[in-house]
Amino acid sequence: MQRLNIVITGHVDHGKSTLIGRLLADTDSLPQGKLESVKKMCENNARPFEYAFLLDALADEQKQGITIDSARVFFQSKKREYIIIDAPGHIEFLKNMISGASRAEAALLLIDAKEGVAENSKRHGMLLSLLGIKQVAIVVNKMDLVNFSEIAFTKLKVEYSEYLATLGIKSDIFIPISAREGVNLIEHSASTPWYKGPTVLEILDSFKSVEEKENDDFRMPLQDVYKFTRDNDDRRIYAGTVTSGELHVNDEVIFYPSLKRSRVASIESFNTPVKNSVKESEAIGFTLQTQIYVRNGEVVARADQSAPKVSNRFEANLFWLGTKPLELDKPYKIKIGSAQSTIYLEEIKRVIDGDTLDRANEPSVGRHEAACVIFRVHDLLAMELFAENQKLGRFVIVDEYDIAGGGIITEVLEQYTTRRTKALHVSDLLVDKASTNADFEEELFALLRKHFPHQFPTDNIG
C-alpha cells in the first residue's frame, strides 16, 4: 500500500490534535481499548474527554493541553496509508513544527473560525512554502462556534487567500469543519449545507505522492567511500542516495566540484540479483573502472548529462531557529547534500516578517524570522536551484552544535575569489588542513603506484 506523509499545522489551540484524534477514532484506526482507556483516564482525573488526548502522549502535554513535539501517527484510509505529523503550533516549539513539516509531502493548515487568522497562521503558511510543500489545504475549524456561518467562512477564506497569494502560494481548497463534532471530516454534514467541496478525508486521498521523475539528470551526493578489507573484500565502493535520474553500469561519471571522472564498473548491493542500473531515491553503491580519490560531499553526475552548478556564493530564502541571531561575517557550518563546509552570511537583503512581509537593512536575522540573504561558502560546492532540484537546492546551517536554520537556494552567484583578504578563522584552517591531506594522500598514492606497481595488482589504492 502506498504511503503519504501529511503535516497538520496551525496556531496553538486551533485544534490540530483534536482533528487527528477524531480522524483516527472515526476511521477505526485506533488500537482496541485506546479510546476507552483515555476516556477512563479523563473520568479518573475529573476532566472532560478530548480527542487531543489520543495524540498528546507526553505527560507534560496532557497536563498543559498543548502539543510539545510533533508526533508521527499512522493511519489508513481505503486508498492508502498515511503518516500524519501533528506539528505543535506554539511559537516556542516552532523548531519542532518545522522538523515535522519538513518530512511532509502535503499539508493541512488549520485556522480557528472564531479567532481568525493568527500571526502563526501566516508564519506557518510562509514556512510551508519555504519547505517546498506545494499541496496545501486550509481547514477552517471550530465552525460550530460561529454557528456554521457561510459568511464567516467566506470572509476568512478571502483574507487568507490574499495572504497566501503574496507568498506565491495558490490554494483554493478551504474546508469548513468542526473537529470536535466530526463535521466534514469523513462525511458531508447537514450543518454546512452550503458547502459542496471535499471532506478532509477526501482531500487527503486527493493529494499526490511526490513521484520520482525518471527523466531528470542523474545526481548523487557522495555520502561515503567504503573499503572493507574483511573476508578479502577488495571493492572500493562509492556510496550515496540518488537524488534524481538514473545510472547504469559503464556510464561515465564526473564528480563535482573536483571534476574527476571515471566509468561505473559495477553496481553493488546485498541480497539482490545483480543490478545494472539504479534510479532516484535508491541508497546505492558502485565501483569505478579506475581508482580516483574523491571526498565525501562531492556530487556525482553523468558525463553525458547536464552538470550541477559549482560556486561558493548563492542567494537563498532562509528561516532561522537559532537561539542566537544569524549574524554577518560569523563562521557557521553549511550542510547541503552530503557536503559540509564553513559559511558566512555576506548580506541580508531583507527580513521577511510574518505580518508585514518585508523589512530591509536589518543587521541580523532573529529567532523565528525568515529572510532573503546572500551566503559565501569557504569551499566550492556543487549545488542546484531549489526550483530545479529540490534535494540539492536546500541546505541547513549549523550554529555550534545545532541545526539553527534551513533554506532554499534561489540563485547561484558568481564565485567569490578574494577570500584571503579576510582574517582566517580556526574553522577555515581545519577545512584547509583536510583538503591538503586529501591532495597529499592522492599524490602519495600516485607515486607509490608508479614506483611499486607490484603492490597494487588490481590498482586498488585503499
Binding site: Q32, A57, S102, F228, G285, V398, Y401, D402
Partner: protein, 292 residues
C-alpha cells in the same frame, strides 16, 4: 519503488550518516524482530559487512532460545558482539523474581546495564569472531553513538523521537528541547560527552517489519512463530514479564495476515508486556531515564 523500498533506502541513508559521523558507534541488538531487521539493513548499507559492534544487554532473564539464536547468528555473520549485564544486581538478587517491582527491575537490569555498558564503566563481554572466543573488555571506550531499533508506532513517547537524538551525560531525554531536524539533514554535530541515539526505523510499522522480513527472507528467531502449542511471542523480552499470545501463525506470511485482516488488526503490539501497564505514562518515565 514500493513502500518497503522507500523505507529501506531511508534507513540505509541514516545508517550511513551515523557511520560517517561517529567514530565510536555501536548498535543495540535485542535479538527481537526490529533490531534484527536493523542488522539486516546494516548488511545492506555496507554491502554484506557489519562495521560496528552489536551490543546486547543480557538481563539473565531472557528466554533461553534468544541467547542460542544470538550466538548462532553472531558466528554465522561474523559479528562483533558485545554483551553487557548488571552482575551486581543479579548477585544480590535485586530482581523482579526476588520481589523487586517490575519498573525497578527494568531500571537495574536493562537501563543501568545499558548505560554502564555503553559508557565503558562495566566490563563488556566480547565475542571475537577471528579467534572464535569470548573475551572480557575492561575500561572500554564509551560508545558515543548508538543505533537503536525503536519505531514511532510502538508507543506515544517514541512517536516523538528524532532520528538523531541526543542524551545528556546522564542519558536523560527531554522531549521539549529536541533540536530541529530538517529534510534528510540530521543533527550530527555534538558537544564532547554527548551520547546520541540513532533511530533508523522510526517510520516503520510492525506490519512493515514483517512484510520486510518476508520479502528479504531474514532468519528471524523462531519464538515469533507458533511453538506447537498454539502460542507465539509477538514481542520479546524477559520471560517473567513477557507473555506469548494465542496464535497458530507459523511464518511471516501468516503473521502479516493476522496483522492486516486477522485477530491482531486492532490490538496493540506491546499488549503482552506487563511493565507498560503499571500506571499512566510509565514507559515515558522509563525512557527519560534511558530505557529504550
Amino acid at each position: 519503488m514500493d513502500h518497503l523500498d522507500r523505507l529501506e533506502a531511508q534507513s540505509i541513508y541514516i545508517l550511513r550518516e551515523a557511520y560517517r559521523s561517529f567514530p565510536n558507534l555501536a548498535m543495540l541488538w535485542s535479538i527481537g524482530k526490529d533490531s534484527t531487521v536493523l542488522l539486516w539493513l546494516t548488511r545492506k548499507a555496507f554491502f554484506g559487512h557489519v562495521p560496528y559492534p552489536l551490543v546486547h544487554i543480557d538481563t539473565a532473564f531472557k528466554i533461553p532460545e534468544m541467547i542460542k539464536y544470538r550466538d548462532e547468528i553472531a558466528i554465522q555473520w561474523d559479528l562483533n558482539l558485545v554483551v553487557g549485564q548488571n552482575k551486581e544486581a543479579l548477585a544480590k538478587g535485586e530482581t523482579f523474581v526476588n520481589g523487586l517491582d517490575r519498573l525497578s527491575c527494568c531500571k537495574k537490569l536493562k537501563s543501568d546495564a545499558l548505560k554502564y555498558t555503553l559508557d565503558g564503566t562495566w566490563a563488556r563481554r566480547k565475542w571475537n569472531p577471528y579467534k572464535k572466543v569470548w573475551e572480557d573488555e575492561l575500561n572500554g571506550a564509551p560508545y558515543t553513538g548508538v543505533i537503536v531499533g525503536v519505531r514511532a508506532d510502538e508507543e506515544g513517547s517514541r512517536s516523538k523521537e528524532r532520528v538523531f537524538s541526543a542524551r545528556d551525560e546522564k542519558s536523560e531525554w527531554d522531549a521539549s528541547t529536541q533540536p530541529p531536524e530538517l529534510w534528510n539533514q540530521y543533527k550530527t554535530d555534538f558537544a564532547p560527552g554527548t551520547h546520541v541515539r540513532i533511530h533508523p526505523l522510526l517510520e516503520w510499522t510492525e506490519l512493515n517489519i514483517w512484510e520486510y522480513i518476508e520479502r528479504e527472507n531474514i532468519p528471524i528467531i523462531s519464538l515469533y512463530f507458533d511453538q506447537g502449542n498454539g502460542k507465539r511471542y509477538r514481542s520479546l523480552g524477559c520471560f517473567p514479564c513477557t507473555a506469548p499470545v494465542d496464535s497458530v501463525a507459523s511464518n511471516p506470511k501468516e503473521i502479516i495476515e493476522e496483522l492486516t485482516s486477522g485477530k491482531f488488526k486492532d490490538i496493540a503490539e506491546r499488549s503482552g508486556r506487563a511493565q507498560d501497564k503499571d500506571g499512566g505514562g510509565t514507559l515515558e518515565a522509563l525512557r527519560k531515564e534511558g530505557y529504550m
